[in-house]
C-alpha cells in the first residue's frame, strides 16, 4: 500500500513538474494566422477550409469549432489573447455584439460595391444601426418535408386545413400525419407570421399579446393536439427518420440524415393558412463571417484577403452543395449546379416569404419567454389570453432589465 501511495505521489509531482515546464502554450498568433470560430457541420467547415487554404502559406486560416460560441464571445470578445479573429455564425447576434463594441464593420474590409452583388435580404439582415457587420455566405430556413412512402406528391397539403384533415386521417397507431417542434419559438414563429403576428419587431418591441399572435396560437393549438407532446428535436426528427411521421417542418440539416435513413424525401412549399391566405413563414437565418474589433487593426490586410476569397462565387456554390442552403450571392444562381439543386431552390423559394430573425439585442430574452408561453399554452392548457399578457409583461420587464 505504501508503495502504491508513493508511486501515486511521485506521479503527481511529475505531472505538476511537466505542466510547470510545459507552461502556457506559446501564442500561435503570428501576423498571418487567422482563427475563425464556428459551430457548423463538419461538411460546411471542410468546404470553407479548403477554399481558404488557397491563401497558404502567406495566410494560415484555422477554423475552430467552438461550442457555446456566443457565450464564449461575450466573455473573451475583447481579449486579444483568447478571442478569435473572426467568427462564422448566424446574423441574429449582430446586435448584441455590435452594442458590446466587439465587432468591426465588414465595410472596413470589403468594398460597398461588392456588397451590391448580394441578395438584398441578406445584407439587410447583417445590418445593425446602419453598419454591415456580417459578410453573408448563405441563408437557411425551415422547409416542409414529407415521406413519399406515405404521402404522395398529389396529397401534399396546399393549405393548413388540408394539412389538418390529413393529420386527423393518418395520426393513429404510433403514426403521425405531421410533426414539428411545436413549442419552440423558432418553429412556432412561422405560424405567427402567417397571421401577421410576431415575436419581436425590428425596433425591439415584443408582440406576444398582439391580437394576430394570439389568433395564430389559438389556431395552432389544434395541430399540436395531434402531435406528440414532446416537441424537442430528438423526438420529432427521429419520428420522421423512422418513418413514423409522414411529414414535418425541419431545417436543411435534417435532409442528409433522413436520406441516409432511407426516406424517399419530398420537399414542398409551406402550406397556406386558409384564414389569411399567407403561407407559414418561418424565420430565416443568414450565416456569415464577422470580424472582431481586436483583430481588425492588427491583422487588417490578412482579414481583407480572407474576406476577398469568401466573396467569390465558388465559395457560395461549394457551400450550397455541402449544406443544401441557398447562397447569399446573386450570381451563384447562374451556376447550373445551384439552379438545378432541388433543395437549394426550395430553400430559395421558401426564403422569399421567410422573415429574417431580428438582429437586435432584445431578441436574446425573447427565445425563452416565447418558449415559456408556448409550453404553457400547448402543454399545460393555460388560458391563452392570460398567458400571452403575462409573457408580454415578462418580455417587457426583461428587456428593461437589459439596459
Amino acid at each position: 500500500m505504501k508503495r502504491l501511495f508513493a508511486a501515486l505521489l511521485s506521479l503527481c509531482l511529475l505531472a505538476a513538474l511537466l505542466t510547470a515546464c510545459g507552461g502556457p502554450a506559446v501564442d500561435p498568433d503570428g501576423p498571418a494566422t487567422i482563427t475563425i470560430w464556428h459551430d457548423k457541420e463538419d461538411e460546411v467547415a471542410a468546404v470553407l477550409q479548403e477554399e481558404l487554404d488557397q491563401l497558404a502559406p502567406d495566410i494560415q486560416v484555422k477554423l475552430e469549432r467552438k461550442d457555446g460560441l456566443t457565450d464564449s464571445l461575450k466573455m473573451v470578445g475583447n481579449d486579444p489573447k483568447a478571442a478569435p479573429d473572426m467568427y462564422f455564425f448566424a446574423h441574429d447576434k449582430v446586435g448584441v455584439f455590435a452594442e458590446m463594441g466587439i465587432l468591426a464593420p465588414i465595410t472596413d474590409f470589403v468594398d460597398e460595391k461588392t456588397l451590391a452583388g448580394y441578395l438584398p435580404m441578406t445584407i439587410k439582415a447583417a445590418t445593425y444601426k446602419g453598419e454591415v457587420y456580417q459578410l453573408p455566405l448563405y441563408f437557411e430556413t425551415l422547409l416542409y418535408m414529407y415521406n413519399r412512402l406515405y404521402m404522395s406528391d398529389e396529397e401534399v397539403p396546399a393549405t393548413t386545413e388540408e394539412l389538418y384533415a390529413y393529420m386527423e386521417q393518418t395520426t393513429q397507431g404510433g403514426h403521425y400525419g405531421f410533426v414539428e417542434q411545436h413549442s419552440t419559438a423558432y418553429y412556432a414563429a412561422g405560424w405567427l407570421h402567417a397571421f401577421g403576428g410576431y415575436i419581436l419587431d425590428s425596433e425591439g418591441n415584443p408582440g406576444l399579446d398582439d391580437p394576430n399572435t394570439i389568433r395564430a396560437l389559438e389556431y395552432h393549438k389544434k395541430f399540436v393536439s395531434l402531435m406528440p407532446t414532446e416537441g424537442e428535436y430528438a423526438t420529432v426528427n427521429t419520428l420522421f427518420r423512422e418513418g413514423k411521421a409522414h411529414s414535418t417542418i425541419g431545417g436543411p440539416w435534417l435532409v442528409p440524415t433522413a436520406r441516409e435513413a432511407g426516406i424517399d424525401l419530398g420537399i414542398a412549399p409551406m402550406p397556406v393558412v386558409d384564414e389569411t391566405g399567407s403561407p407559414i413563414a418561418p424565420y430565416s437565418g443568414v450565416q456569415g463571417v464577422h470580424v472582431l474589433k481586436v483583430a481588425a487593426e492588427r491583422k487588417h490586410d490578412a482579414i481583407a484577403k480572407v474576406l476577398e476569397v469568401l466573396t467569390g462565387d465558388s465559395v457560395g456554390t461549394a457551400i450550397a452543395a455541402a449544406s443544401g442552403c441557398a447562397p447569399a450571392r446573386e450570381t451563384c444562381y447562374q451556376d447550373p449546379a445551384v439552379a438545378e439543386d432541388e433543395m437549394v431552390m426550395a430553400m430559395y423559394e421558401t426564403a422569399q416569404n421567410a422573415v429574417p430573425m431580428p438582429n437586435v439585442p432584445e431578441m436574446d430574452v425573447m427565445w425563452t419567454v416565447t418558449e415559456n408561453l408556448l409550453v404553457e399554452v400547448n402543454m399545460q392548457g393555460a388560458d391563452l389570453q392570460t398567458s400571452a399578457n403575462a409573457a408580454q409583461q415578462q418580455a417587457l420587464d426583461l428587456i428593461k432589465q437589459m439596459q
Binding site: E230, E371, L398
Partner: protein, 295 residues
C-alpha cells in the same frame, strides 16, 4: 508564547490552501459584488459606471412569488433528496457489511459506476433513453406490460420525482462509499455485546451504528447538502433546456434566476441577483448549522 507559536505555525500550514481559495473563490465573489453596483451590460460593456444599489432595487422584482415558490421547492428538493440518500445509502452500506457476504466487492464496484460518468452525460441518457414518452425505455416496458404510455416529465409532480431519481442515481455512489467507510470504522465489539443483550438490527442501528458514524460522515453530509441545494444541471437539463422544455414547471432558485436574470446579458443586474441568492444560501446554511448544533 506557545499559543502564539502555534497560531503562526497553523496559519503557515494552511496558507497555501487559504490563498488558493482566496484567489479562486473569495475574490470572484467580491468582484461579483463590485459588478453588481455597476451598470455593466450589453450597452455599457467597457464604459460601465457605478450605479449604486439600482440593480438591487431591480433585482427585488425577481424575488416575487415565483421566486418564493422556487425557494420552497428547492428546500423540499434538498430535504427529500438528503433523506432518501442517507436512508438508502445507510441500508445498502449496512447490507454490504454483513459478515461472510461474498461478492460484496463486485456489487460495491457496480454501485460506484454512475460516479465515473460525467454528470451531464448521465442526465441526457436518462432524459432521452429512459423518460422520453415516445421512445424511452420506461414506456417501452410499460407498453409491453400492456400499460398506457406515461409522459414522465410533463407534469410537475412526476417530473420532480424523475429529477429526484436521477439525482439519487448520481449522488448515491459517493454517499454509499462514505457510509461504507464509516461503518467499517465502527468497533465490532460493541455489536457483540449488543447481540448478546438481544438487540434487534434496528436497535443496533439506532443506538450504536448511527451515533458512531455520525461524526465520520458529518462533513460529507454537509457538503452533499450544499451540493444538492445548489443543484442546477439535473432540473435544467431534464425539464427546461431551451428548445426541449417538457411542460413541467419545477424551477429551483438557480434555474429561476437563470431564466429571469441571466438571459438578459446584464452582468450588473445578474450579479446583484447572484449576491442575493448568496445571501439566501448563507441564511440557509446558518439555519442548518444551528440545527446541527442543537441536534
Amino acid at each position: 508564547m506557545k499559543q502564539r507559536k502555534e497560531t503562526m505555525y497553523s496559519w503557515l500550514c494552511s496558507a497555501p490552501s487559504l490563498l488558493l481559495i482566496l484567489l479562486i473563490v473569495v475574490f470572484p465573489i467580491l468582484y461579483t459584488a463590485y459588478i453588481s453596483v455597476t451598470n455593466m451590460n450589453v450597452y455599457h460593456w467597457f464604459n460601465f459606471s457605478f450605479v449604486g444599489l439600482e440593480n438591487y432595487r431591480d433585482a427585488l422584482f425577481v424575488f416575487d412569488s415565483g421566486f418564493l415558490a422556487a425557494l420552497g421547492r428547492t428546500v423540499i428538493w434538498t430535504v427529500l433528496n438528503m433523506v432518501l440518500q442517507l436512508v438508502i445509502a445507510f441500508v445498502l452500506a449496512s447490507l454490504l457489511n454483513i459478515r461472510d457476504f461474498r461478492g460484496r466487492k463486485i456489487y460495491k464496484t457496480i454501485l460506484m459506476v454512475p460516479w465515473a460518468i460525467p454528470g451531464y452525460v448521465s442526465i441526457l441518457l436518462w432524459k432521452t433513453g429512459m423518460f422520453n414518452s415516445q421512445f424511452g425505455l420506461l414506456n417501452q416496458w410499460m407498453e409491453r406490460l400492456g400499460l398506457q404510455a406515461v409522459r414522465w416529465l410533463a407534469n410537475d409532480v412526476s417530473a420532480f420525482l424523475c429529477c429526484t431519481v436521477v439525482n439519487l442515481w448520481l449522488a448515491l455512489p459517493f454517499m454509499i462509499m462514505i457510509m461504507d467507510g464509516a461503518l467499517q470504522a465502527v468497533d465490532k465489539s460493541y455489536y457483540e455485546s449488543a447481540i448478546l443483550d438481544g438487540a434487534t438490527w434496528l436497535q443496533r442501528a439506532v443506538h450504536i451504528t448511527i451515533p458512531e458514524i455520525r461524526g465520520i460522515i458529518g462533513p460529507a453530509v454537509l457538503i452533499t447538502l450544499f451540493t444538492t441545494f445548489k443543484q442546477f444541471d439535473v432540473v435544467y437539463l431534464l425539464t427546461q433546456q431551451a428548445g426541449a422544455r417538457t411542460g413541467a414547471n419545477i424551477h429551483t432558485i438557480l434555474t429561476y434566476a437563470h431564466e429571469n436574470a441571466f438571459i438578459t446579458n446584464n452582468y450588473g443586474y445578474s450579479s446583484a441577483v447572484s449576491m442575493i441568492i448568496f445571501a439566501v444560501l448563507i441564511l440557509f446554511s446558518t439555519a442548518v448549522n444551528r440545527r446541527k448544533k442543537e441536534g
